[in-house]
Structure formats: structure tokens, C-alpha cells
Symmetry: C2
Subunit: 327 residues, 2 copies
């Protein structure tokens, strides 16, 4: 599968991060010529341990997507761009909205402007987020649901997504966007909740600490990282995807309490506390969320293959061996 990427020049922004490194590994297996760009900012997702097994098989370029000069060099000559770099923390976007703006808006415009000037034939796949929907009007949420972001990060990611679609529509720079839901698996950030709350759960349970479940009744959907890598690769090859936006999602939909139970199970032990929402999180809580991802299934022929139980088991297996490299 995905033989089309063999010997192709592929650039991944955020390439040393969680999803980027898993994507890179798959592309290396296929035989692609892979360049990773990552800022390695400690608060973000980049971790060199993520690529220790493929370090010599990829081009590693440490730079920030805000650095237009390095991006201008790196984008030239590439055939595919997986544009995954971003500020992902909702709380950080509220305490420092300008940094979020620089990364999630301005740098996206830079990247697209560079593509327009120097590499208009590149094919871009952009990692957007389900966060932009805000509090659902109905469930499951399909792509026609209004977007109504509840934090600065959501507003800026929404703008970043729109820039990609706009540059596709106006300039013919082929771009599509995936609205990712909760993604988990080997390589995710676990030292804090900046990327996903599930990271902290994994760290705590493995370390023998209880986990805090805020609320507990909220429903969520999840994707194991390998399934996200699949759909990224599908998007890159799908000519009919240009200018389109696709929800990701997975089954089963579970409550956070059920997820805590499953995590304890996958860890082979541990405990969790149900606690009330902290007030500053409550303000931006969206209640239940899960996606209708049938558009991606129909158009991209994607099907998430790893069920939650299996995915959690693999995740705990990975971090039980490698936790020290993620603290």
C-alpha cells in the first residue's frame, strides 16, 4: 500500500512530534525521501526519541515554521507536504494568544505563500482539529455543522484551515484538511496535557499514580495514531480531496469514565478519581463530542482499523518500555 510515495520527496512540519514521527516512519518503510522540520520547543510535541529508529533514514531539519527563510528553502522541490506543526494547547492559547496566532495563522500563511511563489505543484495535507466546532448542536457532528470555536486556539486553527482551502480554490495549490479528533498512541506527549489529557493518564497509571477524570460523563471519540497516518497518506494521494475538509473519528464512542476504566485495564491496574470540572475549563467545555466521519470513509476509502482496546494496549506497552524518554 501507498507505493506511490516511494522515492517521492516529502516534507513533514512537526515531523518529530507525535503524529509526524509516526507518519515519517511509515514513509521511510515505503521508501520515500523524507524531510522532517520541527522546532523542538520543549512545550510542544517534538521529541527526538520519536525518530531514534529512523534518524539516519530521514533528513532532520530543526527549525520553526515561523522562520520563513528556512521554510522557503525546505519547501522547494518537495512533492508532498504534511503540514502538522501547530500550537495545540488550549490553555496556552488563552494565556498567550499571540504565540498561538504566530504559529497557527501567520506561519500557515507563510507556508502557503511560499508554496504559491516557489512550489505551486506541491500537494498539501493540513492537520486541523475538531476543536473548531465548539459545543455540538447535534451528534455525530458532520462537516456541515457550524464551526464555533471556544478558545483562541480554535479560532486560529479555523483560520489556518481556511487559508489552505482558499489557496486551493484561488491559486490551485492543492490542499485539503483533516479535522483530527483525540489521537493517541506511541510517541504522544505524556509529560503534561498540552497535547492530550490522555497523555497524562498514561504517564500516571504507568507511574502508579491515580488519574483525575474531569466530569466523566462526556462522550468522546478516539483515533489510534496508525489510523491517522493511514488517512494522511490517503489524503496526500487523493486528487478529489483538494479543497475539501474531512472529519476524522473512531469507534467506539466512550465516556471519559469508561475510557478511564479501559486505561486502567490496558495498564493492568491503577485507579481514577472523578472530580468536578475546574472553573476555567468549564467555561470552554463542549460537553459530548463525536464525529460522523463517513465523508472520509466514502471519499478517501479510509477505515480506522485499530479499536480502542487494542490501541490502548499498544500505547501502554510502548510507554511501559519508553516512559523515561518522555518525561
Amino acid at each position: 500500500m501507498f507505493e506511490e510515495y516511494k522515492e517521492k520527496r516529502v516534507l513533514i512540519t512537526g515531523g518529530i512530534g507525535f503524529i509526524g514521527s509516526n507518519l515519517a516512519r511509515r514513509l521511510v518503510q515505503i521508501g520515500a525521501d523524507v524531510t522532517l522540520v520541527d522546532s523542538l520547543i520543549p512545550e510542544y510535541g517534538g521529541n527526538l526519541f520519536n525518530i531514534q529508529d529512523i534518524r539516519d533514514a530521514v533528513h532532520v531539519n530543526i527549525s520553526d515554521v515561523r522562520d520563513m527563510h528556512s521554510m522557503k528553502y525546505l519547501i522547494q522541490g518537495k512533492e508532498y507536504l504534511f503540514n502538522l506543526a501547530g500550537q495545540t494547547s488550549h490553555m496556552d492559547s488563552m494565556s498567550d494568544p499571540f504565540t498561538d496566532l504566530e504559529i497557527n495563522c501567520k506561519s500557515q500563511l507563510s507556508i502557503l505563500e511560499i508554496c504559491r511563489s516557489y512550489n505551486p505543484d506541491i500537494k498539501i495535507t493540513y492537520a486541523s482539529t475538531r476543536q473548531i466546532y465548539g459545543k455540538p448542536d447535534y451528534l455525530p457532528i458532520d462537516e456541515k455543522h457550524p464551526v464555533r470555536p471556544v478558545d483562541v486556539n480554535g479560532i486560529n486553527k479555523m483560520a489556518g484551515e481556511w487559508y489552505h482551502i482558499l489557496y486551493n480554490n484561488v491559486y490551485g495549490i492543492r490542499s485539503c484538511a483533516l479535522r483530527l479528533t483525540n489521537t493517541y498512541g506511541p510517541g504522544m506527549r505524556v509529560k503534561d496535557a498540552r497535547q492530550t489529557f490522555l497523555g497524562v493518564w498514561v504517564k500516571n497509571l504507568i507511574s502508579g499514580l491515580p488519574i483525575d477524570v474531569w466530569g466523566g460523563e462526556q462522550l468522546r471519540d478516539f483515533n489510534y495514531v496508525d489510523d491517522v497516518v493511514d488517512v494522511l497518506l490517503l489524503c496526500g494521494l487523493a486528487e478529489n480531496a483538494s479543497g475539501k475538509v474531512y472529519n476524522l473519528g473512531g469507534k467506539p464512542v466512550v465516556s471519559l469514565k469508561d475510557l478511564a476504566e479501559m486505561s486502567v485495564q490496558a495498564n493492568g491496574g491503577g485507579s481514577y478519581n472523578i472530580i468536578p470540572f475546574p472553573p476555567e475549563r468549564k467555561k470552554i467545555d463542549i460537553g459530548d463530542y463525536y464525529a460522523d466521519y463517513s465523508f472520509a470513509v466514502d471519499e478517501l476509502n479510509w477505515q480506522p482499523a485499530v479499536d480502542l482496546e487494542t490501541g490502548l494496549r499498544k500505547t501502554f506497552e510502548y510507554f511501559k518500555v519508553h516512559l523515561q524518554n518522555y518525561l
Copy 2:
């Protein structure tokens, strides 16, 4: 009417521009304590002639909304903020997307952050635009219509609008947004189409030149500037407006060809040419547009009072006397 503004401290960004100066004039008549902030960048709407009759009755502060330091000083102690400054040219947003981002996104975040830190009790009314809807799915467009901007300006204005609503919802900074449609009247920019195509029409007809009508069949709605001033003042006082977004609109809805006829009539002579859309405009053309503004009518008790024929007549009367000051 609007006696509540008497002796109140009011800040208007873009206050020397078209709508800002008309709003300022009304507030001066009411007896408000008015401060105007404007960058007077030649490509934008600011024109000191707009305030020549009220120059001594207002505080004029030349600075740019991108200048956080001056904004930090100016926002403190104000009771009302009419936040009208913006980059408005769609073409400029495409040729220089970063400047549009700085003004329409970053500066809006700055203003809101300053309000949060130094003046959380201020009441903000933000000038958004119908441009963010993009190509209509149905007509008239109400506020539930999906937003789907077709240029960088639309994306950035959408983000700017969302920041205001977010800061209302999360921090309690009372803010609402008006999605303006085509606004016209005394004080508008006429030297080019950066603010509105109608400006160039007025200039050309008064100068004895023909006007170019692109397409001609597209339907549009219009507001005379006095009606927009009314609804801005209503918004500032309406506590129920906080966190809400309102369409503006007016009657009659006319085709651009009919508008050209009416303009020739209002001018007392002249001619127009129907010409095909230039290719680079066609890409971002939205076809017909007109708004359902019943939400503003119901909630704010607004009713646009100046019909298009009267408004055009007043506009031509004004510019026939003052055109030289706008070239």
C-alpha cells in the same frame, strides 16, 4: 435619542474613516466625550477632511491599532469602544496577506487583551463584514448561514469577530459584532475601490466619466451610513447584544446594473458600461448577496430609515461639493 451617551467617554478606532467619522459627528451632537484613533494610512479610509467640522470637539489621536502601546493608553478609562479600524481591501489582502493579518487579527487580539487587563468593563461594538459568508447557500442570508470566506480578508475578519465573541463569553468583556453590508454615504473613500466599488462610481460620475459595472446582474443590499451609525449606537447600549452577531442589510435589494442606473439618476447624468468580470475577481465572486437583518430589527429595534434613492442623492450632493478633498 441616544442621550445615554452624553458625557460618556467613547473611543472609536478608525475614527477618522468613513463610518467612524459619521459616528463621531453624531456622538459629538449628543455631547459624548469622543476620542478618535486612526493611522491615516493613505491606502485606508482615514481622511482628516471627514472631521473638519468636529475637529475641536473631539480628541484626535493619530496611531495605528497595531501599536499596542498607544492602544493600551487610549483604551483605559473609556466606557464604550466602537472598534471600526480594519484593512478592508479584498485585493490587498491577497497581495499582502500579512498586513491584513496584523490589522484584522493580531491587533484585534491586542485590543481585547488590553481590555481584559486594563478595562474589563468597557462595552465593545465590532465592525465585521458580510464578506465572511462567501457565496450564499440561500437568500436572504441570516446569521445561521455557514461562514465560508473567499479571500484572506474574509478569513481574518472572521477570526477578528470570533475573538470578540470569545472574550465576551470567556472573560465577560461585553462585545458584539455587526456584519456590515455595502455601506455608502458622505465621507466614504472614492479615490479607488479599496473600501467600496461605489466610491469609484461616485467619483467617476461626478467627474463626467463613465463607470464600469462588472457583470451587472448580481443582487446586493446597501446601507446609508446614517443607518449604520444608528445601529452602532443601539448596539453599544444594548446589554442583550453581548456575545451576539447581527447582520446589517437594507431595502431595496438591487442589481448592480440597477444601482448604476440609480447612480446616474442621482448624479443627474452620466453613463455606464457593462463589462465581464476580470478573471482575478471572478475567482472570488460570490454571485447574489442580500441579508436577512430581522435579528437586528427584533433585538436592537433597528430599522434602516434611508432608502437607496435618497441615500444616493445625499451622497452625490456631498461629493459634488467636496470631491477635491477625497482625491
